[in-house]
């Protein structure tokens, strides 16, 4: 039950700070009413929640829809500090804590967990009037970080990828938008002339974890082995001159928190019909089992990729291994793999036999778009047709409700990511898959090398080969994060004749995927795409695929903005 005094917060159109979009979370109805009144008197846009989980849901559903969160420390369903942590990690919004308890230790804890302020109740309106400063400060810092660090990389990614971003389209609040956009926003809204003035010089460098940077980070983590990882080792591997050990350490901390949270969520949500991790390589399986059902970030190598693949792989696997017996749908469903992946695979499997690719992107980036189609896991016996019927959502419109994730993935992948042809052809599947599957649950890691049944893909056997070897054949390819997360881009490339074998390496893919979609990416990884550049692949795509899935390119391209990889996670 969510009490909202207002629905979605639309992007602000009034002059800052008026119209600041505030989310208030407090289990006390009296305070909620009072705070709402006070904030409205400050000309802010207020949304209220009586429960932390409702607040998280709102935040996740509407990324970029809020500027700041004010939350009480004591709440029945979740510790306020935990909410604080999650919001910081996932959405990277400034959070103000409140409490009637002003004990130093509590205030300290708030600060440690990242609160940008700690208010003591009773709260007066004058204290609320200035909360906009926290939003402003954050923006300034981010812009400065970008400027001072800007690695071309980061900037490129952001600018190209984000230019078309829809505000709030991807997770992370506005703050997370690329520097370029942010700057534009700031300029537009704040009338700010020189917030960037002294930036470069003095800033205490606040690293902006761009998509690429984060990918490198995850890659390094995977190479070292999540269990053995340490900031120094990661730093060394990443080899980024301006990055400090502290930057990495703090990012690692967030990453860990993120993973453990996912794991917990997965544990709760995943209910697999029977797909266990048994197929995972020992290493992965161990990890998966021990950590989480969802995306397993810990994999370091290609094999890991396999396991990471969420539904996708699973699907493929299932299909492959028992294509005859298993109802792809059924398996998929049970797998509850990451939305994108599994979804895509299953329905298609039957018909199109496209392996993992399906899973890839669609789910990932459009997680928000994909309508949630609930499949019961028990659906093992469902006919694929059912799935088909249920879903029929064009890619663009898919709303994948990944249970797990709300924050996931779909981050924007730098524009340079291009899906290999192979993938491109698949989009259809994905589309399909996505709609059919709504498994939100994190991807089952069980994938080991999922065998892509040759029969799956009638046309392009080559394209998908059972990844018996985990190693990603893709390694050499530039994995395109976008492909992973960006179904759209694949879509876009769909018609292009120059397939870019731009598969990012599994590691990269993994990185991209903090979020669920991750798994989809992984799924891809495992699949060996022998030759993306091979036009014949495209050509071989069965026509029926095209017709069957009429995803909407337009829509896709609109959303092609490379999702920003979990920006929330990027703040170091």
């Amino acid at each position: 039950m969510m009490e909202s005094s207002k629905g979605f917060s639309s992007p602000r159109s009034t002059a800052f700070p008026a119209g600041l979009r505030v989310l208030v979370v407090d289990d006390d109805p009296t305070w909620l009413k009072i705070l709402e009144k006070m904030l409205k008197k400050c000309s802010y846009e207020v949304t209220t929640c009586g429960l932390a989980r409702d607040a998280l849901k709102l935040l996740r559903e509407r990324k970029g829809g809020y500027d700041i969160v004010i939350s009480d420390v004591n709440m029945p369903d979740m510790d306020g500090f935990k909410l604080l942590e999650l919001v910081g990690l996932e959405m990277d919004l400034p959070v103000i804590m409140m409490s009637v308890d002003g004990e130093t230790s509590r205030v300290k804890k708030g600060v440690q967990h990242g609160a940008c302020d700690y208010l003591l109740k009773p709260i007066r309106m004058k204290e609320l009037r200035n909360i906009w400063q926290h939003v402003f400060r954050k923006r300034i810092h981010e812009v400065r970080d970008i400027e001072s660090h800007e690695g071309l990389e980061g900037l490129q990614v952001t600018q190209s990828g984000f230019d078309q971003f829809d505000d709030g389209h991807f997770f992370s609040g506005e703050d997370m938008l690329t520097p370029a956009k942010k700057r534009k926003d700031l300029e537009n809204k704040h009338d700010e002339k020189d917030f960037t003035d002294s930036s470069s010089s003095t800033k205490k460098a606040r690293v902006v974890w761009s998509v690429d940077l984060h990918q490198k980070f995850v890659k390094a983590v995977n190479l070292i082995g999540y269990d053995k990882v340490g900031p120094k080792k990661i730093l060394d591997l990443m080899n980024i001159p301006w990055l400090t050990r502290e930057n990495v350490a703090s990012h690692l901390q967030k990453y860990r928190l993120y993973l453990s949270r996912l794991q917990k969520e997965n544990d709760l949500k995943i209910s697999y019909g029977g797909m266990k991790h048994s197929d995972l390589n020992p290493q992965d399986a161990a990890r998966a089992l021990s950590r989480q059902n969802s995306i397993n970030f810990e994999q370091n190598d290609a094999t890991n990729c396999n396991s990471r693949i969420s539904g996708n792989n699973l699907l493929i696997q299932n299909l492959n291994s028992k294509s005859n017996e298993i109802n792809p749908r059924g398996t998929t469903i049970t797998e509850k793999s990451s939305p994108g992946i599994s979804h895509s695979l299953s329905p298609l499997e039957q018909e199109m036999k496209f392996p993992a690719i399906d899973g890839i992107t669609p789910g990932s980036y459009s997680w928000r778009e994909v309508p949630e189609i609930q499949f019961h896991q028990e659906n093992a016996g469902n006919q694929p047709e059912d799935c088909f019927r249920r879903v029929a959502v064009p890619m663009g419109g898919l709303q994948n409700h990944v249970q797990i994730d709300q924050l996931l993935p779909v981050t924007s992948i730098s524009s340079k990511a291009q899906l290999p042809n192979l993938i491109e052809t698949k989009p259809l599947n994905v589309d399909y898959a996505i709609s059919s599957f709504t498994q939100a649950s994190p991807v089952k890691t069980r994938i080991d090398s999922f065998p892509v049944p040759t029969k799956i893909h009638t046309g392009n056997q080559q394209a998908i080969q059972p990844p018996s070897t985990n190693k990603p054949s893709m390694e050499s390819q530039a994995f395109n994060p976008s492909c992973v997360t960006n179904l759209e881009s694949s879509q876009r490339n769909f018609s292009s004749t120059t397939p870019e074998s731009a598969f990012t390496s599994p590691d990269e893919v993994l990185q991209v995927g903090w979020l669920q979609d991750y798994s989809t990416c992984l799924g891809l990884q495992n699949i060996e795409f022998p030759d993306f550049g091979d036009p014949s692949m495209v050509a071989e795509v069965p026509m029926h695929l095209y017709t069957a899935l009429k995803f909407d390119f337009e829509q896709l391209s609109d959303q092609s903005e490379l999702p920003v990889i979990n920006q929330g996670l990027f703040i170091a």
Binding site: D28, P122, R124
Partner: protein
């Protein structure tokens, strides 16, 4: 002004002043009065009603908790904390203070004292509730008679 109205106004003012003078309500209540405006003419009445509903539930829970064979002092503590926070929202100062005393005994796991504190807490709540009800009634009468409520004066 009609002497009758003037008298009603005075009665209202006296009632209000006594609430503050006796420490039953503090500045926060004044803040609430300032929040009330034409858009929300019943803001205070609604907020106060919300508070009492909420606090009655909490008191009920507290009685039930303390009546347990094995008293869950942590739960009691949590409830007290909630009540403390809630009472601060309307400025029910004496209720807040009663919560603080209660909490200390709760942490000391002193059941006898806890029960006494709970009783005290309940009385404070009843006191502020009846006083506010009187105040609102006077307001209604005043407004019904065509009068207006005197402007809130912060400097009290």
């Amino acid at each position: 002004m009609d002497p009758r109205l003037r008298q009603m106004q005075r009665r209202w003012t006296d009632c209000r002043n006594s609430l503050f003078r006796e420490g039953i309500l503090d500045d926060m209540f004044m803040e609430l009065q300032e929040l009330q405006d034409e858009r929300n003419p019943d803001f205070i009445v609604e907020t106060v009603a919300l508070f009492f509903t909420n606090s009655e539930n909490l008191i009920r829970d507290l009685y039930s908790e303390l009546a347990q064979q094995n008293v869950g002092f942590r739960r009691v503590d949590a409830r007290i904390h909630q009540l403390k926070g809630s009472s601060s929202s309307i400025g029910a100062k004496r209720v807040t203070n009663a919560c603080i005393a209660f909490r200390d005994f709760c942490r000391a796991r002193n059941l006898t004292e806890c029960l006494r504190c709970l009783q005290q807490l309940k009385e404070e709540l009843l006191l502020v509730k009846s006083k506010l009800e009187t105040l609102f009634e006077l307001e209604n009468q005043l407004v019904a008679a065509g009068g207006s409520i005197p402007r809130v004066q912060r400097s009290f």
